[in-house]
Symmetry: D2
């Protein structure tokens, strides 16, 4: 396993995730990002549930998402997840959601997570988790899309 | 009605919105922002549903959220919604979610929305909507929180 | 306060609750039932959150829902909640969801709930809760809709 | 392919699907049932999305669910889906959700669905769909759990 490789997590858009515009509602992308993150951690040997059982939780401190396309019911899509920053008290992941058959990118996103204890106080990542994840970002596998400004969809 | 005034939308955290950390899951904040936006539009006399029935839809092109606190089941909270930018092809709203009894800010966010037609092509806002919303941003009622960098919760 | 009176909880259908059929997705009705139940308990002086903090939780053991109409985005609706059975180890609520402007019934439902401890073992309701809720069902205010057989929507 | 065989659809419990009791919230089971139904239809050669594009929609007319266990975050579970009744204007499915590693049944459910047109009027199933699904129920592969009365979880 090459540590810094992104993971690819496939999923199908559920009917309950669509909205009256017949597209997936924008609030489900953070849920998909979280699925991608879970599979990323599993692939790197990091058992998130075990860490929680040990009293350390990751909370999302910041979320960004740029919607560059859309997904319909039953579309097969893929979440590409990268770990772009690791610190004792911070993890940053980036995500790309792509519709499988067309290759069209539906969304780009990122989340910053912070380890906390049961009372919600910021703590340090357990050493084993820190050691496991640190090599995952030592080389940048691809330019991470900048989210700092918005390029609107072209059209009409 | 003073056009540029923010709207305040109260809501209670539903049990279904909590997660295993006994706090509201971060993916519900975009849903609450949308509720705040709906009430904002209603308060300004803009009937969003009627616009959709006329064939113009608003899609979220960008979402940002900084989580600065948390909410528990049954907490009464308020969404403070502001319109911070209006163009023919862009609307930007900002949001502040506050727990009512303590006044603690749980999250700050913003969304950029773009008007599209049924086929998803960007179109111009209908004239009446544009005219109605433009005065709402003519004066800035309060500094809008910058989301460009993250200040982590203090602690540990 | 008349103990056995149903409670009426108003809510608006959120955009995120619609689906590609431009109606509220059927999975949100259980969430609305839960909202109705929360407000019912609050109205009767039963603080559900406090009971949970004391280590007793209510879990849903059975859910039934008959969909007799539909709701659209931004519809104002009302949940009418009744407590139809109280035992030491069982509570049964019934619900009616009505679209406000037309009075059309969108759904009828019921849930059976069981008190459990943190480990998920069935326990008895705390005495104060049992005493508080028992009078709420002593008279039947209206025929509770039978859910035992399905009458299909008429049409075509 | 043996027509009347149930389908087995695996899924993992998402963090966003948990609630403050650290178990999956009961409102997600109808969503999982729908996933099971979608995969059932796909396995039998019935393209639901194509039927919708042709103007026929299935709406849920009745839902029942008995919760006999629970699921935690990241549990791997399986939805076993059966078609138990087919008529020109009615379809009934039953579901069993099982936690994979223990084999414990988390829930049993059923849904009755009715074909409608875009205006919501009941219509007949298209002939090809009716012909495709009818053989799927000609033999009953296993006793379908009765949902007519509730057996409470034992305990305390």
């Amino acid at each position: 396993m090459i540590p810094f490789m992104p993971t690819l997590t496939p999923f199908r858009v559920r009917y309950s995730e669509t909205d009256a515009q017949k597209r997936a509602h924008h609030s489900h992308y953070p849920v998909w990002f979280e699925m991608g993150r879970a599979e990323y951690c599993r692939a790197k040997g990091f058992d998130y549930r075990a860490m929680e059982e040990g009293g350390v939780f990751l909370v999302v401190a910041k979320l960004e998402c740029r919607y560059t396309g859309s997904l319909r019911y039953d579309d097969l899509a893929v979440i590409e997840t990268r770990l772009v920053r690791v610190g004792r008290r911070i993890l940053e992941f980036s995500y790309r959601v792509t519709e499988s058959s067309s290759g069209a990118v539906a969304a780009l996103g990122s989340t910053i997570l912070v380890p906390v204890d049961e009372a919600g106080r910021v703590v340090s990542l357990p050493d084993d988790v820190f050691s496991l994840l640190t090599p995952c970002t030592e080389e940048e596998p691809a330019p991470v899309p900048s989210l700092s400004d918005i390029s609107l969809p072209s059209g009409g």
